[in-house]
């Protein structure tokens, strides 16, 4: 089962290494990892997606808590949180296919950010599932390159994550 851990850490050098190293040595794979400063410049937020394998995710969360620079960890429930991912994708497009692609872009609420005679560069945000579906639909046209940021997530409601 996939878990999304939202980890509030001190914004200091080496913290990412400590967190990533801990996942590796406790036998957990990181599927995706997003890190950036929060509203408080002294703090960073890491959103880590990991697959639960032999050991419960609770174990890695407890171990993470032992890192001095880690302040708070939330295991986000899919239903109680909003998830987003950003996609940049370069798709082959000629005179015949361009119209179909533009239609897809419209439906998914994506945006064209660069156009050449044979390629479209598209930017899209959505839930990871939606991003996946969009990529699947574009695949037949020929994907030149794609980049995903990985999952970002925030709890719903008034309380901070």
């Amino acid at each position: 089962m996939k878990h999304t851990l939202s980890v509030l850490v001190e914004n200091k050098p080496g913290v990412l290494t400590r967190v990533a190293g801990l996942f590796a040595r406790r036998g957990f794979n990181i599927d995706s990892l997003v890190v950036a400063q929060t509203e408080d410049p002294e703090l960073s937020r890491m959103t880590i997606t990991t697959e639960e394998q032999d050991q419960p995710v609770e174990q890695v969360a407890k171990q993470l808590h032992k890192l001095i620079n880690v302040i708070k960890i939330t295991d986000l429930e899919p239903g109680a949180s909003v998830e987003r991912e950003l996609l940049l994708i370069k798709v082959k497009a000629d005179a015949q296919t361009r119209g179909d692609i533009l239609q897809m872009v419209e439906i998914f609420g994506a945006r064209i950010v660069d156009v050449t005679s044979d390629v479209l560069l598209i930017d899209m945000t959505g839930t990871p599932d939606k991003v996946g579906a969009f990529i699947d639909l574009l695949a037949p046209f020929g994907i030149v390159e794609q980049m995903r940021t990985g999952r970002l997530a925030m709890s719903r409601g008034r309380k901070a994550t």
Partner: protein, 564 residues
């Protein structure tokens, strides 16, 4: 004030009066500052590993934070084993390393090693100091982190140019710590404690399983009160030895692979395991699914990550053992436990003790049995010496047969299992406890790993006694090869060894050799009474094995009680 001086002033403020170290290029400014500061004693080891283990032994014997100091590069990497050792056994330690100047970091400079990177998995926390102004705060935080909660090693890596800077320092101004993510839980949750009391009171076959956490927390008295009030037999781990007096009726000695049969039988039949300051190590549990299969588990630990890590816990209590046990006793007393409530169980434990005692084999054909030698050491010292050990067969014989009455009396590398730990640790323990007899029960293999520290013991007049259980084998591996690898003794025979008596004398220590059982007691008495360090080369039966033994991953049913 020079930053190098500030570092020492800040250490002094943390109560440091002893540093174990070894100089080198990038710590010359620090050593220069040390030259002027009579308040700190520096013990010059002969290898950084010796300095690190000595700081560890000092910390375990005294309960204070041990401090070691080394230069950059190889000096720092030589501290890796001591840091890992301290991490595994939760020993409070601050390791200070020199680093190349800031503008040379990352350029593969001379004697540069990324020691913060190398030690990341084996430290409780680490710092690379970038600004001299941060030093007072970092040192304060390092000691706080190392010594509180579940203790552990903290590394401070200081570039040499930082230590040369001038800075303002006011010793009366205590720097503010900034540790928003560090808040160890001390008090246990009272509802959990009440639940634990209820479960313990309801148990018919309870066992206390106590470990190093009880020693660290200073909770021996509280543990004894709970055990006595509840009439609960106590088994301890290797690192927990002495947290409950081993000559007490309720003591079952050590549990686990080489534990006593009765401790292991009791756990296998218990309906309640009250675990305090332990981590359900595989050397204790054996096959983890079959560990105490009929029991409910109550687990007290200051580290929440230990709860349900290896064994699912029914009643977890996160908190410091001393606080939790005191609160638990209050709750237990409210339940008015009758001393007769599990007489049958106590009878059963007594029966196991009677029918399956630890065996001390008397000398045979003029050969000294190693456990008999350990027992002699125990008799001669009236069980009151501080015992350090190396790692291997001798360590287990020492654990089985040197019964301890006091916490911090038995100092051994439990988690990492570091050969070469015991002797430098004994030096550290002797520095911490100058008036006490400190003995390193060693193997011939282990002692050869750090014996250069004989020079340290001699230089500082530290009267540490090394008792080598010399069988000219790497005995524990040899035992496994005999039992599980068809007696194929690959690379474990160590017949080529120095003359330990001459070696000791070459260093200026006393050397003794004992080959005949009838000489042992007298030699021990003479060596223990002498004012300086001594090495006693005890020639023991070469192929003696450690029993009882539960093979790795086995259960109590697989126990080999004695030589077949």
């Amino acid at each position: 004030m020079k930053a190098s001086r500030v570092i020492l002033e800040a250490l002094t403020r943390e109560g440091v009066d002893t540093i174990f170290g070894f100089p080198g290029g990038q710590v010359i400014p620090l050593y220069d500052a040390l030259y002027d500061l009579p308040g700190i004693t520096h013990i010059l080891a002969r290898h950084e590993q010796g300095a690190g283990h000595a700081a560890d032994g000092y910390a375990r014997a005294s309960g204070k934070v041990g401090v070691c100091l080394a230069t950059s590069g190889p000096g720092a990497t030589n501290l890796v084993t001591p840091i890992a050792n301290a991490y595994m056994d939760s020993v409070p330690m601050v390791a200070i390393t020199g680093q190349v100047s800031r503008h040379l970091i990352g350029l593969d400079s001379f004697q540069e090693a990324d020691i913060t990177g190398i030690t990341l998995p084996i430290v409780k926390h680490s710092y690379l100091v970038k600004k001299s102004a941060d030093l007072p705060r970092i040192i304060r935080e390092a000691f706080h982190i190392a010594g509180t909660g579940r203790p552990g090693p903290v590394l401070i890596d200081i570039p040499v140019d930082v230590t040369k800077e001038d800075m303002d320092f006011d010793p009366s101004e205590v720097p503010q710590m900034r540790l928003p993510g560090y808040k160890p839980t001390v008090q246990g949750h009272i509802r959990q404690i009440r639940e634990a009391a209820r479960v313990i009171a309801a148990a018919e076959r309870p066992v206390i399983y106590a470990g190093g956490g009880v020693v660290i927390s200073g909770a021996s008295d509280e543990l004894r009160d709970v055990a006595l009030y509840g009439h609960i037999p106590v088994a301890t781990t290797l690192t927990g030895k002495g947290c409950f007096p081993e000559d007490h009726d309720l003591s079952m000695g050590m549990v686990g692979m080489h534990g006593t049969p009765y401790a292991n039988y009791a756990l296998s039949q218990a309906d309640l395991v009250f675990a305090v300051g332990v981590r359900f190590d595989d050397r204790v549990t054996g096959k983890v699914d079959a560990f105490a299969p009929h029991a409910k588990f109550v687990h007290v630990d200051v580290d929440p990550a230990e709860i349900s890590k290896n064994v699912a816990i029914d009643v977890p209590i996160v908190g410091d053992a001393k606080h939790v046990l005191a609160a638990l006793l209050t709750e237990l007393k409210k339940l008015n436990l009758s001393p007769e409530r599990h007489l049958r169980w106590m009878g059963q434990v007594e029966g196991w003790k009677r029918d399956h005692p630890l065996v001390i084999r008397e000398p045979e054909n003029g050969e000294i049995m190693p456990e008999w030698a350990v027992n002699k050491i125990w008799e001669v010292t009236a069980g009151e010496a501080i015992i350090c050990t190396e790692v291997g067969q001798h360590q287990m014989w020492a654990a089985q047969h040197y019964l301890c009455r006091h916490p911090r009396q038995f100092i051994s590398s439990g988690g990492l299992g570091t050969m070469g730990f015991g002797f430098p640790a004994a030096i550290g323990a002797q520095v911490a406890k100058p008036g006490q007899l400190v003995i390193d029960i060693a193997g011939d293999g282990s002692f050869q790993m750090t014996l250069q520290e004989l020079a340290t013991a001699v230089q500082y007049g530290l009267p540490v006694k090394v008792c080598i259980m010399n069988n000219q084998w790497l005995g524990m591996v040899r035992q496994w090869q005999e039992l599980f690898w068809n007696s194929r003794y690959s690379q474990t025979c160590m017949e080529c060894q120095p003359d330990f008596v001459k070696l000791a004398e070459a260093y200026g220590a006393e050397g003794h050799r004992v080959s005949r059982p009838e000489d042992l007691e007298e030699v021990l008495r003479v060596a223990f009474a002498s004012p300086g360090p001594a090495v006693i080369d005890i020639r023991v039966k070469r192929e003696a094995n450690v029993y009882p033994m539960i093979p790795a991953g086995g259960t109590v049913h697989d126990m080999m009680e004695r030589e077949l």
